[in-house]
């Protein structure tokens, strides 16, 4: 009974697909993820660039970021619940905390690895301020930032599931939770399967496509 058959899992999956639980759950999870992930990018990329460019921030902020990165994202949940209660905001908070730091760290690293020659050239050409940030630093670090975004995506996805399991409010996490409550092992495995499927699909389809284009444009890939 604790080991479902493949057929059982498939049946459970089809069942959930038929009554729409899978799609509503997936839809809700993806919406939250979308919001949280977008917020992480909007905050994490500039944070990473600033930390790389401002020596003071590097000394003050970088150790904190690196330290907090060691903290599993679920550990933010008790704090989130105390602050925001069992709400949507708590889940969002956990998702953001889960992926923002990874994105910021990867961005910082990528900015640091921009060829010094290009930065010097930007300097001699008189490129400063916003033009330097948007025109040189961001595109120069983009290949590295993409790696961070991929990492951030999987972290966000994990954090979301952890949060949804505890703050039960729709989403795939809830399906997982109910499967456990009902001792429905087939459902639990079926949901786990869906989670993996989503993760792989996004990585393979979305990120692969963006990465290929960027690497080709930047002249980093061997295939032309």
């Amino acid at each position: 009974m604790l080991f479902p058959t493949p057929v059982g899992v498939a049946e459970s999956l089809i069942q959930m697909e038929r009554d729409g639980r899978l799609w509503t759950g997936l839809g809700r999870s993806m919406l939250r993820l979308g919001k949280g992930y977008a917020l992480s990018i909007v905050l994490g990329v500039p944070l990473g660039i600033w930390v790389a460019r401002v020596p003071f921030l590097e000394r003050a902020v970088k150790p904190v970021v690196l330290g907090l990165q060691a903290l599993p994202s679920v550990c933010w949940l008790p704090l989130a619940i105390l602050w925001f209660g069992l709400t949507e905001a708590s889940i969002l908070f956990v998702v953001v905390m889960g992926s923002l730091l990874a994105i910021a760290i990867a961005t910082e690293d990528a900015v640091r690895r921009i060829e010094p020659l290009l930065l010097r050239e930007a300097g001699t050409l008189g490129v400063r301020g916003l033009r330097l940030y948007a025109g040189v630093l961001l595109p120069g670090a983009l290949p590295g930032i993409l790696t961070g975004l991929k990492l951030g995506w999987s972290f966000a996805w994990r954090a979301l599931m952890a949060a949804e399991l505890i703050v039960v409010s729709g989403g795939l996490g809830q399906l997982l939770h109910y499967g456990r409550e009902l001792l429905d092992v087939a459902q639990v495995v079926a949901v786990m399967f869906s989670i993996v499927a989503v993760g792989v699909t996004v990585d393979r389809v979305l990120f692969r496509a963006i990465e290929t284009r960027v690497w080709r444009r930047w002249g980093l890939s061997e295939t032309r």
Binding site: R120, V127, V136, G140
Partner: protein, 302 residues
């Protein structure tokens, strides 16, 4: 092409060309270097008592073996490195920090890899030209000037080394700097491409008459390009000779005059290094000094 014997005969029969020292010119110097000295933190004396005047529209080559401080001097002119003492003024104003009016070009074309040739030019021009159509127009004009038309949409990694260098040159020229500083820009190119770039640079220079300070360790290159060749020596970095090259342009590196001039300059360099008796002198400079085929570098690197 020219075999050894005819060249030697030729040298005997034809009256010798001799380089003349530069004469001081009337009027305010565009670049004035006064008693500049520089010591690096590791106590190496890179420059000792350097004084140099460069007039507007002059093409000056700084020539010397590696370690003679020519690159240091160029960096100081660019404002990228404040010398330990002395004074450098450009157009009467002291040099403080880098400025787009004094563009520095290196061996590496340093094009932004994610931008096409056109975008590289347009991006640089944004700090100079306000209107977008005028930027595009200026970029197109300079792309054409370095014969890269048809490659505006190419990315740097899709171009050959020489084409990248041309794109870089176009970008530098399009910024219309009052002084162009070049640190062995063609040092990484193969001999043939290098020759083409030298011809192109001469042609562009004749058209634009920019003030250029060009660092090189290649004697022939200096003679082909420069109105003046400032010969420097190492340990400590100092100016040995300041020659004027009065030859019509475009010049060919195999011109008899240039071959003879380069022999003279190598002799000057050799005699400067001889008293210290460095072993590398013998190997770096062929004893006959009659190698008509290739321009011999005085040293390696810069």
């Amino acid at each position: 092409m020219a075999t050894l014997l005819p060249t030697r005969l030729w040298a005997r029969l034809v009256p010798r060309w001799t380089l003349e020292p530069s004469r001081s010119k009337p009027g305010e110097a565009k670049i004035a270097v006064r008693e500049v000295e520089h010591r690096y933190e590791n106590k190496v004396e890179a420059l000792r008592n350097i004084s140099l005047d460069v007039h507007s529209g002059e093409f000056v080559c700084l020539l010397g073996p590696s370690g003679c401080g020519k690159s240091t001097l160029l960096l100081a002119l660019a404002g990228a490195l404040p010398p330990t003492c002395g004074r450098i003024t450009i157009d009467g104003k002291p040099v403080k920090g880098p400025d787009p009016s004094r563009l520095l070009m290196f061996q590496d074309p340093a094009l932004f890899p994610w931008m096409t040739v056109r975008q590289n030019l347009v991006f640089a021009l944004r700090s100079k030209v306000r209107s977008r159509p005028r930027r595009e127009e200026t970029a197109a004009r300079y792309v054409k000037r370095v014969h890269l038309d048809g490659f505006e949409g190419a990315l740097p990694h899709q171009l050959s080394g020489g084409m990248r260098m041309r794109a870089s040159l176009a970008r530098a020229l399009s910024m219309d700097p009052s002084v162009l500083l070049m640190d062995e820009p063609f040092g990484a190119l193969d001999a043939q491409t290098k020759g083409q770039m030298q011809q192109l640079l001469q042609q562009v220079w004749v058209e634009t008459r920019k003030t250029v300070v060009f660092v090189t360790h290649d004697v022939r290159e200096a003679l082909v390009l420069g109105d003046r060749v400032v010969v420097m020596a190492a340990r400590p970095g100092r100016i040995l000779k300041d020659f004027e090259v009065r030859l019509p342009r475009p010049r060919d590196p195999d011109d008899e005059a240039i071959v003879q001039y380069s022999r003279q300059i190598r002799e000057a360099l050799r005699s400067a290094e001889a008293p210290k008796g460095h072993a590398k002198d013998a190997s770096a400079v062929p004893a006959s000094g009659l190698s008509a085929g290739a321009a011999h570098p005085v040293g390696t690197g810069g």
